[in-house]
């Protein structure tokens, strides 16, 4: 049973106290959580009914400056690997094969690429185990479900993040020889794989 306030919440039409109360309810109610996501899509679509306007030219640098101020420098360096991995993963294998970033000697940028079995997907793993999965044309998810990533080493499958789109950054490192797998799980994810396995990629 979906709570009647889900729509008001999606429209930001609750006052502060009601919003907090509903957020607490959401955490415990998967039905409402799924309903809010659907209703949010409709609410956000209302933004597109308004005439888009070009803001003053000073807003873009303001937006970017704020970003620069709140990010620690170390993370920015770390971003290099993922930036390179994302571009390679999101474009095509030709780029990766032609450039072979892991042979450039740049350990920040170096990563290995593995093709997945079971679906058209590519896994990129850095030398320190950071990993990105780029999948193409995964089956659309049923309502109330999500894709969950797993890092399997030995007999143990550990959760490594949830995603719904086509690209995901794993939340835990992938040790050499581990298998990365994706299964369909209820929204919110599971602590061990329970749903059908969508794909797996074995690393070396």
């Amino acid at each position: 049973m979906v709570h009647e306030e889900a729509a008001a919440f999606a429209l930001d039409a609750l006052d502060r106290e009601q919003t907090e109360a509903f957020q607490q309810h959401l955490a415990a109610c998967p039905d409402c959580d799924a309903a809010v996501e659907e209703l949010r899509f409709a609410a956000a679509a209302l933004a597109f009914a308004v005439e888009p306007l070009v803001p003053s030219g000073s807003l873009r640098p303001r937006v970017l400056d704020t970003g620069a101020q709140v990010i620690p420098l170390r993370r920015r360096r770390h971003a290099r690997f993922l930036a390179a991995a994302m571009v390679a993963a999101a474009s095509c294998a030709v780029v990766v094969a032609a450039v072979r970033p892991w042979e450039t000697g740049d350990s920040q940028a170096g990563f290995r690429r593995y093709d997945a079995k079971g679906a058209n997907a590519t896994l990129l793993v850095s030398r320190s185990g950071e990993a990105v999965l780029a999948a193409r044309r995964l089956r659309p998810l049923a309502a109330g479900t999500v894709y969950e990533l797993w890092v399997i080493a030995g007999d143990r499958a550990q959760p490594a993040g949830l995603f719904r789109g086509s690209l995901a950054t794993l939340t835990r490192p992938v040790p050499p020889g581990a298998t990365v797998a994706v299964s369909v799980e209820p929204s919110g994810g599971s602590s061990r794989p329970t749903g059908p396995l969508v794909l797996r990629a074995e690393t070396t």
Partner: protein, 207 residues
């Protein structure tokens, strides 16, 4: 085709560079880069949704400076919490515009600036539109048509809440209806809107 070696060297700082390198990525991919602290990706996301965000914020707060504040604060929230969003939810465009809406509503409630004008009707195109403008215009038409198909009382409740920034309790008072009626109208209307948009095949990602 993107040049990966340039990317590794980090030569993506300029606006033109960000366009060239990131333009082909999906919203999810751009957001994943944002979550890793990539400023060029934040710029790309701003270039995709900044105008819709600003148009929305200005519609709600009715003040250029406040609207810019709402957009800036929303993108700061995107920058800070892109990682946790990616692990949880659906469409990046929905999330970004949800954040913009929330900031704008917060600001307008504080400033007591709310208005309840009807939304602007679709203006006629002047001259040749770029692909992006044409796409936005088409999206706008689809959403406006869907809105027009809603029963008037549902449409009214949704528009006053979303564009006017009124809470459900304020709406009940303003419209002289019980709170339960307002809740039902918003719920039925928003669910119907979702169906109408799905029927129209609406995809809210920038081209």
């Amino acid at each position: 085709m993107p040049n990966v070696t340039d990317f590794i060297r980090g030569e993506t700082q300029s606006q033109a560079g960000s366009r060239r390198e990131l333009g082909h990525l999906s919203d999810e991919a751009v957001l994943a880069l944002v979550s890793r602290g990539d400023e060029a990706a934040l710029g790309e996301l701003y270039d995709r949704y900044g105008r819709v965000a600003y148009g929305l914020a200005l519609r709600i707060v009715r003040d250029r400076s406040l609207a810019e504040d709402a957009v800036q604060e929303a993108f700061l929230a995107v920058w800070r919490s892109a990682g946790s969003f990616l692990a949880e939810h659906g469409k990046p465009s929905t999330w970004v515009l949800t954040l913009v809406h929330r900031r704008a509503v917060d600001l307008v409630r504080r400033e007591e600036r709310r208005r309840a004008d009807p939304i602007d009707e679709l203006s006629q195109p002047t001259g040749e539109a770029t692909d992006e403008e044409a796409w936005l215009r088409a999206q706008r038409q689809v959403v406006q048509e869907a809105l027009r198909k809603l029963p008037p009382d549902q449409r009214e409740a949704i528009e006053l809440a979303y564009y006017g920034g009124f809470t459900q309790s304020e709406l009940a008072e303003r419209l002289g209806q019980p709170l339960g009626t307002i809740k039902s109208r918003m719920f039925a209307g928003l669910r119907r809107l979702r169906e109408l948009l799905a029927d129209a095949g609406l995809e809210l990602d920038a081209p």
